[in-house]
Symmetry: C2
Subunit: 336 residues, 2 copies
DNA sequence: CTGAAAGCGCTTACAG
DNA sequence: CTGAAAGCGCTTACAG
């Protein structure tokens, strides 16, 4: 492990002052061409790599050209697309992205926020794990820029980018009701999660607007895995044979589709799921979904973050990203 | 944007020397309890956050507790699982992960490697974009630790973690041949990609072992998207009606399954794909796959990286991660 | 156009 | 147990 050469050593080899090396490394134009050449040669010979963390220490503002992205789970397809959109924007500005997973754990959110603040990231995009967001306020007061995605904090202490969960869910259920079905089941995630609450609200909105009321026997919350959703859906479908079902997120949709197939009910019970799922077009019938746009969420979030980092001090605002209905068959099944 | 308090300011408020603040912040036990209390109070009052980049500058070894992970595309499900496994291990060591995408671009690989070296990451896990890997050697000589995943560099200049692409592909095709089918099509990615070459080699291995030879009319390379695969598969299936098909990666598998369904051939043509795909169990017949284990790849890679960072100087070694056949129907179709 | 001095926020190496 | 001095690798602010 040979020691890394420093700017001082490059300067000595090139026979110039350290400041001249600094100028060459940073592309300052006012250096004599001959010196530029000598510095370049010395740097190449030694394999010199400028130490950006040292450079940023004294540089005005102390920026690190690093931002943090705290997601529920980076291995989740939704999160992956958000990360990619953030990365693409950041890269154009020579900024790199520190990514980490929170697993819906508020303590982990606080710890990781602290860890990235201590590393002096220039800004932070967070998909909040839920619970109290006061630590965000504390860090903001010390100058850290934040953008929140997917969940709307109350009060709105930072810019937030959210999918239109309530409106999208309502449209999805209205779409189901258009098949002239009247009994619609709801299978959803834990109501402690804001998006789950919003989507459930959209579900009841649609029923109310049609003069219907949710039937408690057809509603299940707290489904976190496809396996769990499959078991619960199977039991519910077998016991109550609803005419249609709305599922609140992709894993639940997968479980519900599996249950319908196992029971041979897939051509009778209409289904629309929130969130797109891969291969949805191949299943028979194709799975109709209300798709989110994670790339748009990521792009908007990183755009707002850079604006804040550049000094935008306007009041925090919420941005809603529309969802899009993708009809593939399951949501348009004719009544038998 | 109020200025961030420094250790010096905390020391002044607490009425102690800066070194005492340093001791408290770093949990050094030999500080009088009363001073610890005063320092804590001052730090809390000012909202002090230790600057880790400054601390690491002087700290022995100059470690940043940051590693880099360069993946083909962070939004790819495979990459997401690798990232998560790396993150989980790193987190236990208080190390964070800078993640970036290469999009099969060797120049981007060099640029990002350079950018992360300049930020003084402690180590780098790279899924090489292909082409020449000499820049890895250069950085290694300057003390940077590397682990490569998914592709085996020649010569083997760093530890490499790879799926058993050739062996797994061979087993997949042997599985197909067990249905007593004889004409097996191959649909695969660009042969410029090493994994695609290895999987094609496994395909021909299996045919040879069975006394068969690949039929050029049934072989297609260069498929990069599901859409492209679908079109090519459709044309090939319609023209040549092979008895079975092996697909070399998940997007190609999806396209081929779509094509079979469109042509109504899904119960006649046996199929095994390399890489697992979501919802594979719902399609009729279920999609049989030779699954990779990206979590194992990530775990092994980060384990090797930390060993190297800790000073392991043994010769670079390649580690092969086994693949696993998941029979779901499509690969076991009885001959009609 | 060039470079010596001071400083970024910390830690190391010492002395008390 | 405590703290003043020197230094990490750079940049800023100056002077020439």
């Amino acid at each position: 492990m040979s020691a890394r050469p420093t700017m001082r050593e490059v300067a000595a080899l090139a026979g110039v002052g350290i400041k001249t090396v600094s100028r060459v490394v940073n592309g300052v134009p006012t250096v004599a061409p001959e010196l530029v050449e000598r510095v370049r040669a010395a740097a190449d010979q030694l394999g010199y790599r400028p130490n950006l963390t040292a450079a940023n220490l004294r540089r005005t503002g102390g920026r690190t050209n690093t931002i943090g992205l705290l997601l529920d789970d980076v291995s989740n397809p939704y999160s992956g697309v958000v990360l990619r959109a953030v990365e693409d924007f950041a890269r154009e500005h020579n900024v790199v992205v520190l990514a980490a997973s929170l697993d819906e754990d508020p303590q982990r959110e606080r710890e990781l926020t602290r860890a990235l603040v201590n590393r002096r990231v220039d800004g932070l995009i967070v998909q909040p794990a839920g619970g109290d967001q006061r630590h965000v306020l504390t860090e903001q007061q010390a100058g850290m820029s934040f953008v929140l995605i997917d969940r709307l904090p109350e009060p709105l202490l930072a810019d937030a980018i959210v999918s239109d969960n309530r409106g999208g869910a309502r449209l999805a259920v209205e779409h189901l009701l258009r098949t002239r079905r009247r009994t619609v089941a709801y299978l959803g995630d834990d109501l402690a999660i804001q998006t789950a609450r919003d989507r459930y609200a959209g579900f009841t909105d649609a029923l109310s607007a049609a003069g219907l009321r949710p039937d408690e026997r057809l509603v299940r919350h707290g489904l976190r895995t496809a396996e769990q959703a499959r078991a619960v859906a199977r039991e519910l479908f077998a016991a109550h044979a609803p005419e249609a079902v709305f599922t609140s997120q992709n894993l639940v949709t997968i479980g519900a589709v599996e249950a319908l197939h196992e029971l041979g009910m897939e051509s009778r019970v209409a289904l629309v799921g929130f969130d797109d799922i891969p291969l949805a077009a191949i299943v028979r019938p194709g799975v109709s979904v209300m798709a989110q746009d994670p790339a748009a969420v990521g792009r908007l979030a990183v755009g707002r973050l850079f604006a804040r980092m550049a000094g935008d001090t306007s009041a925090p605002a919420a941005h809603t990203v529309p969802t899009r209905l993708i009809p593939r068959g399951s949501g348009e099944l004719p009544r038998l």
